[in-house]
């Protein structure tokens, strides 16, 4: 995946009007998703989840349980898809790899000194290479937000390009940590930097900073992806992460993807949810649809 961009010019990023973006998001949320569409949407959303555990106290046991959940979201119900990936720290990649053996579920690793990214580039590259060598299919890196906010856009660009190179065959997701970028204009700039520097996916958040993913932020990133597609014909994936805990909200995100990028992006190859609680909420909704009664979390495994 060579890219020929060597730098980023801020002038290529259009301004963003926050109020209009919020109004557009309200329109997505006014869509009524019912019946078959709802079931199809819920299953699609489930299949797009990067089931995530990113805690200091993560254990091999916890990662194994998570992997089982990824492969068997709810065996009591037939016809349920598996999630897209399991997302862990680099030291847990090997465990996850092993636990997911035989499935098509990907292993994603957060790298580059996640979540702050405040280490020298060399350390970031080592972190990345380690995760790849351990068997990660996907690398979720963080950008240097401090440098970005200082206006050192090409520092950020070069870092991403270097990490991309270190990824080898692994897919690169670039986390913008939009909760620290302050404005939608900055979200757009960071998206353009990431895309031009070689990101396969752009991702909103680490989940460690509030706000994490929001619809306005995601819309601005989807628009950056669309503009790049218009310009080059190349598709970039999108991953909102953190803060998407309910089925209803996940469906609104799908509406947003559908009406912004169209159906080519409506699959786990091009759109993911970084989430931990979402899977069970979706399962409860699917169960409610089958049984006709509202569900309790007590009946769904919490790994």
């Amino acid at each position: 995946m060579g890219n020929h961009n060597v730098s980023y010019q801020p002038s290529i990023s259009p301004p963003i009007d926050q109020i209009s973006v919020e109004e557009r998001c309200a329109r997505f949320q006014s869509r009524s998703i019912k019946g078959e569409t709802k079931i199809a949407g819920l299953k699609l959303a489930l299949s797009m989840i990067d089931l995530t555990t990113l805690e200091g106290k993560d254990s091999e046991g916890k990662v194994k349980q998570l992997c089982y959940k990824a492969m068997h979201p709810h065996d009591a119900m037939p016809g349920i898809p598996t999630v897209a990936a399991v997302c862990v720290y680099p030291t847990m990649v090997r465990t996850a790899r092993k636990a997911l053996k035989g499935s098509s579920i990907k292993v994603a690793a957060v790298a580059t000194a996640f979540p702050s990214g405040l280490v020298p580039l060399k350390v970031k590259l080592d972190d990345t290479k380690f995760a790849v060598e351990e068997g990660a299919d996907e690398i979720d890196m963080v950008i240097s937000r401090g440098k970005f906010l200082q206006g050192e856009f090409n520092f950020v660009f070069d870092e991403i390009a270097a990490v991309k190179e270190a990824c080898g065959k692994a897919h690169l997701k670039v986390i913008l940590e939009t909760g620290e970028l302050s404005t939608l204009d900055n979200v757009r700039k960071a998206s353009d930097i990431a895309i031009l520097a070689g990101a396969d996916f752009i991702k909103t958040s680490t989940g460690k900073i509030q706000p994490a993913a929001t619809m306005p932020v995601t819309l601005v990133m989807l628009e950056a992806i669309r503009d790049y597609y218009y310009e080059t014909g190349k598709m970039i994936g999108m991953k909102p992460a953190g803060g998407i805990a309910t089925s209803k909200l996940a469906l609104h995100y799908l509406v947003m993807v559908r009406e912004t990028l169209g159906e080519a992006w409506m699959n786990p190859d091009w759109f993911r949810f970084g989430a931990s609680k979402l899977a069970n909420d979706i399962l409860m909704q699917l169960a409610k649809d089958q049984t006709g009664v509202y569900q309790s979390l007590n009946y769904f495994s919490n790994d």
């Binding site: 301004p15 869509r31 019912k34 078959e36 569409t37 628009e223 597609y229 799908l254």
Partner: protein, 499 residues
């Protein structure tokens, strides 16, 4: 539109580059109409009571999405209008003008509250009768109508603060004639300031959309408003003429076409009646290179496809700066491809039914004219229902100022697109019209916004937004788009004499 033309359109249309056709296509989500109460037949609301029309005539009001008859509605004759005016005059002289202003306010507040309570019913009936998407009637028309009453209620006992150095006085009986595009909202725009200022009202809703005004009459009845303060008479042009020409009416307020507005202005010449007119428009919506383009595209869509383009202030002339024209048009086409045209009652419908067969015919004639003038047509490849009156959202690309689709108000989902190079050029073109109701400007540069907004000859200028309305915000036109304002402090003036 004929099949032959449809084919031609297909050839001229560039394929949208994003595909919205299949994945997650929304299952119908119809708003229930089970809870609404519609009578089979509506009489005239005169002097606080439901009165049969003197000649016994009734006409059908139909659902433009299904072509089914919703109810029969009384046709008011001159005799009926006379009755209504007498009731309004008596109520004015004996009750309303004598009532302390703050008591007047309480009645108006009460009407606002009752609309809020029955909001869903109003929204459903509005969409059934007029064809507008339920999302719009639910989220825009009905709440704005309730808010309008709420807003003006508060003015009733504060009028002297609105006009420094003057003593504002009510005028008397106001005759009000409203159009079919925002039936309840326009009734609110007319009645609320008139009542707040101390006048009484005879209002005629449009013949194709009388139901929500009649439901409003039910609410007015429920509110205990003194009999005769608001009278609602239904009918067509002849009923309107009877109001306009009635000798005991002191003020006429009309919203509708410029042609009819001119007839009214002429008809009341020399009678001493006060007049406000809110007429047609052909607004320029101007996109500069430095604009937030994706949001501008939303503004274009909202500007022309809101309410099927049945909007006097619709942004029906698009001007895109040369450097971004291709980009904007590509985005716009893709956005149009994601619009859902169809059942107004479906919560996901973006573009509902054209209000009447006559209006659809008029729009289709303009589509033919646009093609014959050499405009390049784009319509998305969306499906439209077989029954009912529907029109796909349409672009005419590469038009020029001399094209009729650029000059004339189409009042449908049809956008004429031109490009421009310089600021001077676009101001010149934007103002090159007899209308002056509204305009839109999209740029990220503050000083350019104010340069544009001060130079555009229009009563409402939306900068980096479009088709926004608020009870506190004055609305109305320059030039042939009419005179007088509705909304805000300025909206009081047409209903007052300043001594």
């Amino acid at each position: 539109m004929s099949k032959k033309q449809d084919k031609k359109h297909q050839q001229l249309s560039a394929e949208p580059s994003l595909d919205f056709s299949k994945a997650l296509s929304y299952t119908p989500a119809p708003e229930s109409s089970a809870h609404i109460r519609l009578k089979k037949q509506y009489d005239l609301f005169i002097n606080g009571a439901w009165v049969k029309p003197s000649k016994g005539g009734y006409f059908d009001t139909i659902n433009p999405a299904t072509e089914q008859v919703l109810a029969k509605v009384a046709e008011a004759t001159q005799e009926d209008v006379d009755k209504a005016v007498k009731a309004a005059r008596a109520a004015y002289e004996n009750v309303w003008s004598k009532m302390p202003a703050r008591e007047r306010a309480k009645y108006i507040y009460r009407i606002a509250r009752l609309i809020q309570e029955r909001a869903r019913e109003f929204a459903v009936i509005e969409s059934m009768d007029g064809g507008k998407p339920i999302r719009e009637s639910r989220d825009i028309d009905v709440p704005l109508a309730a808010n309008h009453f709420f807003y003006y209620a508060g003015w009733a006992d504060k009028l002297e603060y609105a006009f420094p150095g003057k003593n504002p006085e009510s005028i008397g009986v106001a005759g009000q004639i409203i159009p079919w595009n925002f039936p309840l909202l326009m009734a609110a725009w007319k009645i609320a300031p008139a009542l707040a200022a101390g006048n009484t009202v005879v209002l005629k809703p449009a013949e194709s959309t009388p139901l929500t005004a009649l439901k409003l009459a039910e609410i007015i009845e429920e509110s205990g408003l003194p009999a005769g303060v608001v009278n609602i008479v239904t009918g067509a042009g002849a009923t309107g003429a009877a109001i306009v020409n009635h000798p005991d009416i002191d003020k006429i307020a009309f919203t509708g076409s410029t042609d009819v507005g001119k007839l009214i202005q002429k008809a009341i010449a020399g009678t001493g009646k006060k007049l406000t007119l809110e007429l047609g428009g052909k607004a320029a919506n101007i996109i500069f290179e430095d604009a937030a383009l994706d949001q501008a595209v939303e503004g274009i869509v909202n500007g022309i496809f809101f309410n099927q383009g049945h909007v006097c202030c619709a942004g029906s002339r698009l001007f895109v700066q040369e450097g971004v024209a291709d980009k904007v048009i590509r985005k716009l086409k893709d956005r149009m491809a994601s619009l859902i045209v169809g059942d107004p009652m479906d919560k996901n419908t973006d573009i509902g039914a054209i209000n009447s067969p006559e209006q659809l015919k008029k729009i289709n004639e303009y589509l033919k004219i646009g093609v014959n003038e050499g405009g390049e047509v784009f319509q998305p490849n969306c499906s439209i229902p077989a029954k009912g009156y529907f029109c796909k959202p349409t672009l005419f690309l590469n038009t020029s100022q001399s094209h009729r689709v650029v000059q004339e108000e189409i009042f449908g989902p049809v956008l004429a697109v031109q490009t421009f190079r310089t600021v001077e050029e676009v101001i010149e073109k934007a103002n090159n019209t007899p209308y002056g109701l509204s305009a839109g400007v999209w740029t990220d540069k503050g000083s350019k916004i104010f340069n544009m907004t001060t130079k555009l000859k229009a009563g409402v200028v939306w900068a980096n937004t479009y088709n926004k309305f608020d009870p506190s915000s004055p609305f109305g036109g320059f030039r042939e788009s009419g005179f007088g304002r509705e909304g805000g402090l300025h909206g009081l003036l047409p209903y007052l004499k300043l001594r």
